[in-house]
Protein backbone atom coordinates (compact mmCIF):
# COMPACT_ATOMS: atom_id res chain seq x y z
CA UNK A 1 0.00 0.00 0.00
CA UNK A 2 1.26 3.48 -0.73
CA UNK A 3 0.25 7.05 -0.04
CA UNK A 4 1.14 9.69 -2.57
CA UNK A 5 2.24 13.22 -1.76
CA UNK A 6 1.52 15.42 -4.75
CA UNK A 7 4.10 17.76 -6.24
CA UNK A 8 3.03 21.31 -5.51
CA UNK A 9 3.94 24.54 -3.78
CA UNK A 10 2.15 24.50 -0.44
CA UNK A 11 1.61 27.59 1.64
CA UNK A 12 2.27 26.34 5.16
CA UNK A 13 1.91 29.72 6.78
CA UNK A 14 1.80 33.34 5.69
CA UNK A 15 4.88 34.19 3.60
CA UNK A 16 6.28 30.68 3.91
CA UNK A 17 5.94 28.13 1.12
CA UNK A 18 7.05 24.56 0.99
CA UNK A 19 7.69 23.07 -2.41
CA UNK A 20 7.46 19.37 -3.18
CA UNK A 21 9.20 19.28 -6.55
CA UNK A 22 8.37 15.70 -7.47
CA UNK A 23 5.47 13.56 -6.36
CA UNK A 24 6.58 10.83 -4.00
CA UNK A 25 4.97 7.91 -2.25
CA UNK A 26 5.19 6.52 1.26
CA UNK A 27 4.90 2.75 1.40
CA UNK A 28 3.97 0.26 4.06
CA UNK A 29 7.10 -1.47 5.30
CA UNK A 30 9.04 1.73 4.79
CA UNK A 31 10.74 3.95 7.36
CA UNK A 32 11.25 7.59 6.46
CA UNK A 33 13.56 9.98 8.29
CA UNK A 34 12.45 13.58 7.84
CA UNK A 35 15.44 15.87 8.30
CA UNK A 36 15.84 19.65 8.36
CA UNK A 37 17.06 22.51 10.51
CA UNK A 38 15.01 23.97 13.37
CA UNK A 39 12.35 26.20 11.88
CA UNK A 40 12.60 24.67 8.38
CA UNK A 41 8.96 23.56 8.56
CA UNK A 42 9.15 19.87 9.50
CA UNK A 43 6.23 19.91 11.92
CA UNK A 44 4.26 22.19 9.59
CA UNK A 45 4.83 19.70 6.76
CA UNK A 46 3.58 16.86 8.94
CA UNK A 47 0.55 18.67 10.35
CA UNK A 48 -0.51 20.82 7.43
CA UNK A 49 0.46 18.78 4.38
CA UNK A 50 1.16 15.15 5.12
CA UNK A 51 -1.62 14.32 7.60
CA UNK A 52 -4.38 16.17 5.66
CA UNK A 53 -3.25 14.44 2.44
CA UNK A 54 -3.27 11.05 4.12
CA UNK A 55 -6.70 11.71 5.57
CA UNK A 56 -8.06 12.74 2.17
CA UNK A 57 -7.03 9.45 0.55
CA UNK A 58 -9.60 6.66 0.37
CA UNK A 59 -7.92 4.07 2.61
CA UNK A 60 -9.14 4.03 6.17
CA UNK A 61 -5.65 4.18 7.56
CA UNK A 62 -4.99 4.53 11.25
CA UNK A 63 -2.67 7.48 11.84
CA UNK A 64 -0.73 7.57 15.07
CA UNK A 65 0.87 10.98 15.45
CA UNK A 66 3.29 11.37 18.32
CA UNK A 67 3.74 15.02 19.12
CA UNK A 68 6.98 16.88 19.57
CA UNK A 69 6.05 18.26 22.97
CA UNK A 70 5.17 14.95 24.57
CA UNK A 71 3.77 16.33 27.81
CA UNK A 72 0.91 18.07 26.01
CA UNK A 73 -0.06 14.87 24.22
CA UNK A 74 0.22 12.83 27.39
CA UNK A 75 -2.18 15.23 29.13
CA UNK A 76 -4.58 15.07 26.17
CA UNK A 77 -4.59 11.26 26.02
CA UNK A 78 -5.00 11.13 29.79
CA UNK A 79 -8.03 13.43 29.54
CA UNK A 80 -9.46 11.33 26.68
CA UNK A 81 -9.05 8.08 28.60
CA UNK A 82 -10.72 9.60 31.65
CA UNK A 83 -13.87 10.10 29.58
CA UNK A 84 -14.03 6.45 28.55
CA UNK A 85 -16.01 3.75 30.33
CA UNK A 86 -12.98 1.91 31.64
CA UNK A 87 -10.49 4.00 33.56
CA UNK A 88 -6.85 3.53 32.53
CA UNK A 89 -3.89 4.88 34.45
CA UNK A 90 -1.70 7.02 32.21
CA UNK A 91 1.17 8.71 33.95
CA UNK A 92 4.04 8.35 31.53
CA UNK A 93 4.86 7.95 27.86
CA UNK A 94 5.02 4.16 28.01
CA UNK A 95 1.56 3.92 29.55
CA UNK A 96 0.29 6.34 26.92
CA UNK A 97 1.76 4.21 24.11
CA UNK A 98 0.23 1.06 25.56
CA UNK A 99 -3.14 2.77 25.72
CA UNK A 100 -2.85 3.94 22.10
CA UNK A 101 -1.83 0.43 21.06
CA UNK A 102 -4.95 -0.91 22.76
CA UNK A 103 -7.08 1.65 20.90
CA UNK A 104 -5.45 0.67 17.62
CA UNK A 105 -6.02 -3.04 18.24
CA UNK A 106 -9.67 -2.33 19.08
CA UNK A 107 -9.98 -0.39 15.84
CA UNK A 108 -8.79 -3.49 13.97
CA UNK A 109 -11.63 -5.68 15.16
CA UNK A 110 -13.95 -4.51 12.38
CA UNK A 111 -11.57 -4.53 9.44
CA UNK A 112 -7.90 -4.29 8.57
CA UNK A 113 -6.57 -0.75 8.62
CA UNK A 114 -3.08 0.19 7.49
CA UNK A 115 -1.03 1.91 10.16
CA UNK A 116 0.99 5.07 9.73
CA UNK A 117 3.12 6.20 12.63
CA UNK A 118 4.44 9.74 12.63
CA UNK A 119 6.97 10.47 15.35
CA UNK A 120 7.88 14.15 15.53
CA UNK A 121 11.17 14.56 17.44
CA UNK A 122 9.80 12.24 20.03
CA UNK A 123 12.47 11.63 22.67
CA UNK A 124 11.19 8.14 23.46
CA UNK A 125 12.18 6.41 20.21
CA UNK A 126 13.55 3.36 22.05
CA UNK A 127 10.24 2.85 23.81
CA UNK A 128 8.42 3.35 20.52
CA UNK A 129 10.72 0.78 18.85
CA UNK A 130 9.91 -1.75 21.60
CA UNK A 131 6.23 -0.95 21.22
CA UNK A 132 6.43 -1.64 17.48
CA UNK A 133 8.18 -4.93 18.20
CA UNK A 134 5.32 -5.81 20.54
CA UNK A 135 2.87 -4.87 17.80
CA UNK A 136 4.48 -7.67 15.79
CA UNK A 137 3.62 -6.57 12.28
CA UNK A 138 5.92 -5.30 9.59
CA UNK A 139 3.40 -3.64 7.33
CA UNK A 140 3.21 -0.27 9.01
CA UNK A 141 4.80 2.89 7.66
CA UNK A 142 6.93 5.00 10.00
CA UNK A 143 7.86 8.62 9.44
CA UNK A 144 10.14 10.09 12.08
CA UNK A 145 11.89 13.35 12.79
CA UNK A 146 15.05 13.30 14.87
CA UNK A 147 18.13 15.48 15.18
CA UNK A 148 20.27 13.01 17.10
CA UNK A 149 20.81 9.27 17.25
CA UNK A 150 17.49 7.49 17.07
CA UNK A 151 16.36 3.88 17.48
CA UNK A 152 15.07 3.83 13.89
CA UNK A 153 18.30 4.93 12.19
CA UNK A 154 19.25 1.33 11.38
CA UNK A 155 15.83 0.31 10.06
CA UNK A 156 15.72 -1.69 6.87
CA UNK A 157 13.99 0.16 4.02
CA UNK A 158 15.11 3.47 5.51
CA UNK A 159 14.87 6.53 3.27
CA UNK A 160 15.48 10.18 3.96
CA UNK A 161 13.10 13.03 3.28
CA UNK A 162 15.10 16.21 3.26
CA UNK A 163 13.62 19.60 4.04
CA UNK A 164 15.94 22.48 3.18
CA UNK A 165 15.48 26.20 3.47
CA UNK A 166 16.26 27.58 0.01
CA UNK A 167 15.73 31.24 0.84
CA UNK A 168 13.59 33.32 3.19
CA UNK A 169 10.04 32.05 2.99
CA UNK A 170 10.82 29.03 0.80
CA UNK A 171 11.70 25.45 1.72
CA UNK A 172 12.08 22.43 -0.54
CA UNK A 173 11.13 18.87 0.29
CA UNK A 174 12.84 15.96 -1.45
CA UNK A 175 12.69 12.19 -1.02
CA UNK A 176 16.30 10.98 -1.29
Amino acid sequence: MMWKIAASVYEVWKNFNLEVKEEFALQTGGTYHLTGANGAGKTSFLKQILIPQLQSQPDQQYILYLEQQTQNQLDAVKAYSALQKTAVEINDFEQMLNYLLELYQNALTDAFRPLLIISDENPYSEKLALWLEKLNRGDYCLIYVSHGICAFDQSSNLRNISLTLEKAGQANLTLL
Binding site: A37, N38, T43, Q68, Q69, Q71, D120, E121, H147, G148
Partner: protein, 118 residues
Protein backbone atom coordinates in the same frame (compact mmCIF):
# COMPACT_ATOMS: atom_id res chain seq x y z
CA UNK B 1 13.64 15.05 40.34
CA UNK B 2 12.31 16.01 43.77
CA UNK B 3 15.81 16.76 44.98
CA UNK B 4 15.95 19.72 42.57
CA UNK B 5 12.43 20.97 43.13
CA UNK B 6 13.24 23.59 45.76
CA UNK B 7 16.72 24.53 44.64
CA UNK B 8 16.69 24.74 40.85
CA UNK B 9 14.75 26.43 38.10
CA UNK B 10 13.60 23.36 36.17
CA UNK B 11 12.96 23.71 32.42
CA UNK B 12 11.73 20.82 30.29
CA UNK B 13 12.16 20.69 26.51
CA UNK B 14 9.09 18.46 26.38
CA UNK B 15 7.06 21.41 27.65
CA UNK B 16 9.21 24.46 26.89
CA UNK B 17 6.58 27.18 27.20
CA UNK B 18 4.65 28.14 30.30
CA UNK B 19 2.10 30.50 28.80
CA UNK B 20 1.44 29.88 25.08
CA UNK B 21 0.86 33.64 24.96
CA UNK B 22 3.10 36.59 24.07
CA UNK B 23 6.84 36.62 24.70
CA UNK B 24 6.34 39.54 27.09
CA UNK B 25 4.00 37.46 29.27
CA UNK B 26 6.32 34.47 29.21
CA UNK B 27 9.24 36.70 30.23
CA UNK B 28 7.23 38.05 33.19
CA UNK B 29 7.14 34.56 34.66
CA UNK B 30 10.93 34.47 34.53
CA UNK B 31 10.93 37.92 36.16
CA UNK B 32 12.93 39.45 33.32
CA UNK B 33 13.24 43.22 32.98
CA UNK B 34 12.51 44.73 29.55
CA UNK B 35 16.19 45.44 28.87
CA UNK B 36 17.07 41.82 29.63
CA UNK B 37 14.25 40.64 27.38
CA UNK B 38 15.76 42.79 24.63
CA UNK B 39 19.03 40.83 25.01
CA UNK B 40 17.07 37.58 24.80
CA UNK B 41 15.43 38.75 21.57
CA UNK B 42 18.80 39.70 20.06
CA UNK B 43 20.35 36.35 20.95
CA UNK B 44 17.28 34.50 19.69
CA UNK B 45 17.70 36.20 16.30
CA UNK B 46 21.40 35.31 16.21
CA UNK B 47 20.75 31.66 16.99
CA UNK B 48 17.60 30.99 14.99
CA UNK B 49 17.64 33.75 12.36
CA UNK B 50 14.05 34.51 13.32
CA UNK B 51 12.81 37.96 14.32
CA UNK B 52 10.59 38.13 17.37
CA UNK B 53 9.25 40.99 19.46
CA UNK B 54 7.74 41.15 22.97
CA UNK B 55 4.32 40.89 21.30
CA UNK B 56 5.11 37.72 19.33
CA UNK B 57 2.72 34.83 19.93
CA UNK B 58 5.32 32.30 20.99
CA UNK B 59 2.99 29.34 20.51
CA UNK B 60 3.59 29.85 16.77
CA UNK B 61 7.32 29.15 17.02
CA UNK B 62 8.66 25.80 15.87
CA UNK B 63 9.42 23.16 18.49
CA UNK B 64 13.17 23.78 18.35
CA UNK B 65 12.71 27.54 18.48
CA UNK B 66 10.57 27.16 21.61
CA UNK B 67 13.37 25.20 23.25
CA UNK B 68 15.97 27.83 22.28
CA UNK B 69 13.70 30.49 23.78
CA UNK B 70 13.21 28.48 26.97
CA UNK B 71 16.98 28.17 27.41
CA UNK B 72 17.56 31.88 26.76
CA UNK B 73 14.88 32.91 29.24
CA UNK B 74 16.23 30.55 31.89
CA UNK B 75 19.87 31.60 31.65
CA UNK B 76 18.88 35.28 31.71
CA UNK B 77 16.71 34.80 34.79
CA UNK B 78 18.02 35.39 38.29
CA UNK B 79 17.97 31.67 39.09
CA UNK B 80 21.41 30.58 40.30
CA UNK B 81 20.76 26.92 39.76
CA UNK B 82 19.09 25.64 36.60
CA UNK B 83 18.17 22.13 35.55
CA UNK B 84 17.42 21.74 31.84
CA UNK B 85 15.65 18.57 30.84
CA UNK B 86 15.28 17.15 27.33
CA UNK B 87 16.67 20.26 25.68
CA UNK B 88 19.38 18.81 23.44
CA UNK B 89 17.25 16.38 21.44
CA UNK B 90 15.04 19.15 20.02
CA UNK B 91 17.89 21.08 18.43
CA UNK B 92 19.70 20.59 15.14
CA UNK B 93 23.54 20.50 15.34
CA UNK B 94 24.00 24.19 14.48
CA UNK B 95 21.46 25.42 17.05
CA UNK B 96 22.75 22.92 19.61
CA UNK B 97 26.35 24.16 19.28
CA UNK B 98 25.26 27.79 19.56
CA UNK B 99 23.22 27.09 22.68
CA UNK B 100 26.02 25.06 24.32
CA UNK B 101 28.49 27.88 23.69
CA UNK B 102 26.09 30.32 25.31
CA UNK B 103 25.49 28.07 28.31
CA UNK B 104 29.25 27.83 28.83
CA UNK B 105 29.44 31.62 28.88
CA UNK B 106 26.73 31.77 31.54
CA UNK B 107 28.22 29.00 33.71
CA UNK B 108 30.52 31.53 35.39
CA UNK B 109 27.66 33.75 36.54
CA UNK B 110 25.52 30.86 37.82
CA UNK B 111 26.13 28.35 40.57
CA UNK B 112 25.02 25.45 38.44
CA UNK B 113 23.51 24.70 35.04
CA UNK B 114 22.68 21.02 34.72
CA UNK B 115 21.52 19.41 31.49
CA UNK B 116 19.81 16.06 31.39
CA UNK B 117 18.10 14.24 28.54
CA UNK B 118 15.76 11.68 30.08
Amino acid sequence: MNEYAFTHLICDGNQPLITNASLEEEAMLYNLKPEVLHKVITLFKQITDKEITPETDISQLSGGQKVVLMILLAIHSKADKILMLNAKSALDPERSDAVQTLIKQFQASKQEILQLDL
